[in-house]
Amino acid sequence: MAQMPALLPKEVEMQRLKKILIMVIVMGSVAASVEVDNFVDGSLHQTSIRDSAFTPAHWWLYSHFVALPLGWGAIMIYDRRVPLMRGPNNSVNTGIKMTIIGYLGTMFTIGINEMWHFWFVEEVFAVPNHWSFNMGVVVAFIGALAYVVRLYVRMVELGMETPPSNPYVAEMYKLALEGKLYSRSIP
C-alpha cells in the first residue's frame, strides 16, 4: 500500500495506534475467555437441566457479551483520533462497525434467549434462540479481523514494526513499504 499523507505528527499517530492496539488486545483476551466458557457452559448443560439463568457459567458468558460491545464502543470513540482509521465518508471504520453490530447482536440475544427459556428449560444447542449468539460472534470476529489488519497495515506504513530477519521476507517488506509489492504480479 502506498504511503498515505500524514494528517497528524507521526509520533502522535504511533502512540494513538499503540493505545488502540492495547485496547484490542484486552478485547481479544475477553473473547478468548468467553470461548473457554462455551465449553464450561456446554458441559453444565449436558449434565443438568436449566434450573436457573443465574449459574456461574451464565454470569461468565453474559457479562462478556455486555463487556465486548461496550469495550469495542470505547475503541470506536478513541479511534476517531486517528483520521486514517476512519471508514468511508468519514464514518466509523467498517470493521469496527461490524464488530460492534455483531457483539450487540449477542447482547440482545441474551434477552431473546431468556424469553425462550422461560417456556422451554431444556438446553438444546441448535435451537433458533442460540443461532444469533453464534452469528453475532462470527460477524464480530470478521469485523475485528478487518480492523486489526487495517491497524497493522498503518503501523507497518509508519515503520513501527521490526523488519523480518529473513532477507527474502525483508525485501518484500521493503517493497511493501514503497508501495511496490504488487508490481510483480500487476505490472
Binding site: V12, K19, I22, I25, A32, T162
Partner: protein, 86 residues
C-alpha cells in the same frame, strides 16, 4: 511539499501519557482481572459445588490465568516497542 512540523511541546500535549509510562495501569489492570476471575471461580465452587467441584474451578482458573498472562505480555511488548524506522 515541505512538511511543517509541529513544535515539540505541542506534540507532547497531543500525545498525552505515553504508552511506555502507563506501566501502573497495565499491572493493576492485570491484577484486578486476575482477582475478579479468582473471585468468580470461588463463587462457582462455593455456591455451585454440585456443578463445579474445586478441581474444576482450579482448572478454569489456570486456563484463565494463562489468557490473562498472554494478554499482559502482549500489551507490555506493544507498549514498550521502539519503532523500527524512528
Amino acid at each position: 511539499m515541505a512538511k511543517k512540523e509541529a513544535p515539540k511541546d505541542e506534540i507532547e500535549r497531543m500525545i498525552g501519557k505515553r504508552t511506555e509510562h502507563m506501566k501502573g495501569l497495565y499491572i493493576i489492570g492485570a491484577i484486578m482481572a486476575w482477582a475478579a476471575t479468582a473471585f468468580g471461580v470461588w463463587v462457582g465452587f462455593t455456591y455451585y459445588a454440585w456443578a463445579y467441584p474445586f478441581s474444576s474451578g482450579m482448572y478454569a482458573l489456570s486456563v484463565l490465568t494463562v489468557i490473562i498472562v498472554f494478554g499482559f505480555i502482549f500489551i507490555w511488548k506493544v507498549a514498550h516497542e521502539k519503532p523500527a524506522i524512528p
